[in-house]
Amino acid sequence: MSLIPGLGIVRGMALTLRRFFQPKVTHLYPEVPAEISPKFRGRLQLLYDEHGTLKCETCFQCAQACPIECIDMGGVDTKGRFAVHWGASETYGERREESALRRAGRTVPDVAYEHWSPIDLSAVDAILHEADHDPRRLLEILGATQAAYGYLPVAALKRISFGTGAWYAMVYGTATYYHHLRFEPPARLAGADEPVAPTVESGRERVEADYLAALDQAIGPGSKRPAGRVN
């Protein structure tokens, strides 16, 4: 504070008047886009590979590691209910086309999958119907499924996940947690030949067998074949 009363006020007013004529600092936002540094953490993005397919494998690890649960994987269950776990699905709505379901870690209603499924799933459907597709009775459903098949086939787990709206990870996790539930048929574990589960020989498997036979004929049996499924 100066000796002359009012001098500080006059100085301040001179300062504001100087600022009145100085160049302004305002960033003209909508016309001039904001300068965002390359490291800025903005919106989460899913990455695609060069063929245009998603690189995400829906392993749920990011969703589980994220402390603030901003990564969401959700979907719509068979009864048309919104299976809301957490995240933004409430605010953004959910899509249920094939790619979205796959991204959400849900089983995809795929016709081709039916041919590959060697298991008759009507027993699972009946169990689900009895349990009212209720995910809270998951343990009961899994127990009944094991009782029906002798073990828990992966296809049945996927059907349970789809039917109840619970995550496949949750179903799988529950099944691995309890010791009385198993994924391998007990007969196979014991070294028996016959699989217990009833199988249906699908058309596609037959085609594949034919193809393999033709391949054997052409290049000789026992030769090196690429591992994995033949397309």
Binding site: I9, F20, V25
Partner: protein
């Protein structure tokens, strides 16, 4: 069905409208003519006899209408000036340079829901903004804008002014009391304390001027300052000017004395519970008060409408349009088209991308600008009230800018500092000024 009914049925909708409107109009016109013939003379005679009354009604209407655009202008000015002092651009979207934004704010406030709280004292709550606004408008009535351009020339003009200014506090107190809100109550009481304290130095500070001028009529005070820059009362009453300016800032509830609506202390002061247009009245009244405070400072201390120097080259326009005779008619009919073509031709010739009709439009615009400028220039030279109004408005808006500038710079004082300043500093200073002035007059006039 009668003949009239059948004819009516056949008429189209415009026909029906015409069939109603034309006879109705005829009857009304005839009635009006008869009315004017019978009592028109008496009415005109009455108006002629009571010319001051007519003048008062007209002046009051004009002043009331004038407050709205001037408030809009000051609001825009405040937004823009403070923004520029804050190193930002301020409004720039609505209208050119955002100039329509204050109008948009005002219209929006008009359309908001008008809300009365459940516990409020409804009549008082409703009347408070009206009282505040009307007191501002009524004090504007005696402000001399230019020679011959004022609402009323009271011989107690200044006294009337301060009385009306004191009425504002009644409105604010009404608003504060009736809102049923403690913040409003605090704001209302603060404004009562503040305005009443500052009335005294405000009134005392102009007593010196009254002594010098020998009158309380604002018009006469301004006339007494005629001449050049050094005839203004600010040179003879510098201390009074300082006291007056500070007190008038407090009277208008402006920063640094805006305690009544201190955002950071009592939410919005007396206006906390007001919404919609009732709040708009308070909002407008504040800016009308800024205009009034500036105008009064200019009128009392800065010479009012008087120019700061005499124009050294007096220009006399001896143009008498009547002397042209038939030539005037020719000038009025042929002049504008010719001027439009002449003004538009250069654009047509010099730029090949401009079509002829576009050039004509440009010429028309230019002609209008030139014609308006010519008329205004003629008025400027011919009538001294135009000059006076320009000087008055120029000086007033310099003070409005100062108020806004202070708002952009200064923090708020505390209520005890505010009162202490009024009673310990301003009042003795005003009294000192009064005694010195009286003594000087006594000595010099002897």
């Amino acid at each position: 069905m009668t003949v009239v009914g059948r004819t009516w049925e056949r008429l189209t909708i415009p026909g029906k409208i015409l069939a109603v409107v034309i006879p109705l109009g005829a009857v009304l016109t005839a009635g009006l003519a008869i009315l004017i013939a019978v009592i028109g003379g008496a009415v005109v005679q009455f108006l002629v006899d009571n010319l001051p009354l007519v003048r008062f009604v007209v002046a009051a209407t004009i002043v009331l209408l004038m407050t709205v655009p001037s408030a809009f202008l000051i609001i825009y000015m405040e937004m823009k000036v403070i923004a520029l002092m804050n190193l930002r651009y301020g409004p720039d979207r609505v209208g050119p340079f955002g100039s329509a934004l204050s109008v948009v704010h005002g219209l929006k406030v008009l359309m908001k829901e008008d809300f009365t709280p459940t516990g409020a004292d409804v009549p008082v709550f409703t009347l408070a903004p009206v009282v505040v606004y009307m007191s501002s408008v009524m004090s504007l009535l005696v402000l001399p804008f230019a020679p011959g351009l004022f609402g009323q020339d009271f011989n107690i003009g200044l006294l009337y002014f301060f009385a009306m200014g004191g009425l504002t506090v009644v409105g604010l107190l009404m608003a504060g009391w009736s809102s049923f809100n403690k913040y409003s109550l605090l704001g209302g009481l603060r404004s009562a304390a503040q305005v009443i304290s500052y009335e005294i130095p405000l009134t005392l500070s102009v007593v010196g001027v009254i002594l010098l001028a020998g009158t309380m009529s604002l018009n006469q005070i301004v006339l007494g300052q005629a001449g050049n820059l050094f005839d203004w009362y600010i040179w003879r009453q510098p201390l009074a000017f300082v006291v007056f300016f500070i007190a008038v800032t407090a009277e208008a509830n402006r920063t640094p004395f805006d305690l009544t609506e201190a955002d950071s202390e009592i939410v919005a002061g007396f206006a906390t519970e007001y919404s919609g247009m009732r709040f708009g009245f308070f909002f407008f009244a504040e800016y009308v008060n800024v205009f009034i405070a500036s105008g009064l400072t200019v009128a009392v201390f800065l010479g009012g409408w008087n120019a700061p120097f005499n124009w050294p080259w007096p220009v006399a326009v001896g143009l008498d349009p009547g002397s042209l005779g038939i030539g005037l008619l020719l000038l009025l009919t042929l002049g504008p088209p010719l001027a439009i073509v002449v003004l538009g031709l250069p654009f047509y010739l010099l730029n090949s991308r401009i079509r002829f009709w576009q050039a004509l439009i440009i010429g028309f615009g230019l002609f209008n600008v030139i014609a308006v400028a010519a008329v205004l220039g003629l008025a400027f030279l011919s009538f001294d009230w135009v000059v006076g109004l320009l000087w008055f408005m120029g000086k007033t808006y310099v003070f409005v800018f100062t108020f806004v500038w202070m708002r952009g710079t200064l923090p708020r004082v505390r209520i005890d500092q505010l009162m202490g300043f009024a009673w310990k500093w301003l009042l003795p200073a005003a009294l000192l000024n009064l005694f010195v002035t009286a003594f000087a007059i006594l000595v010099l006039n002897r």
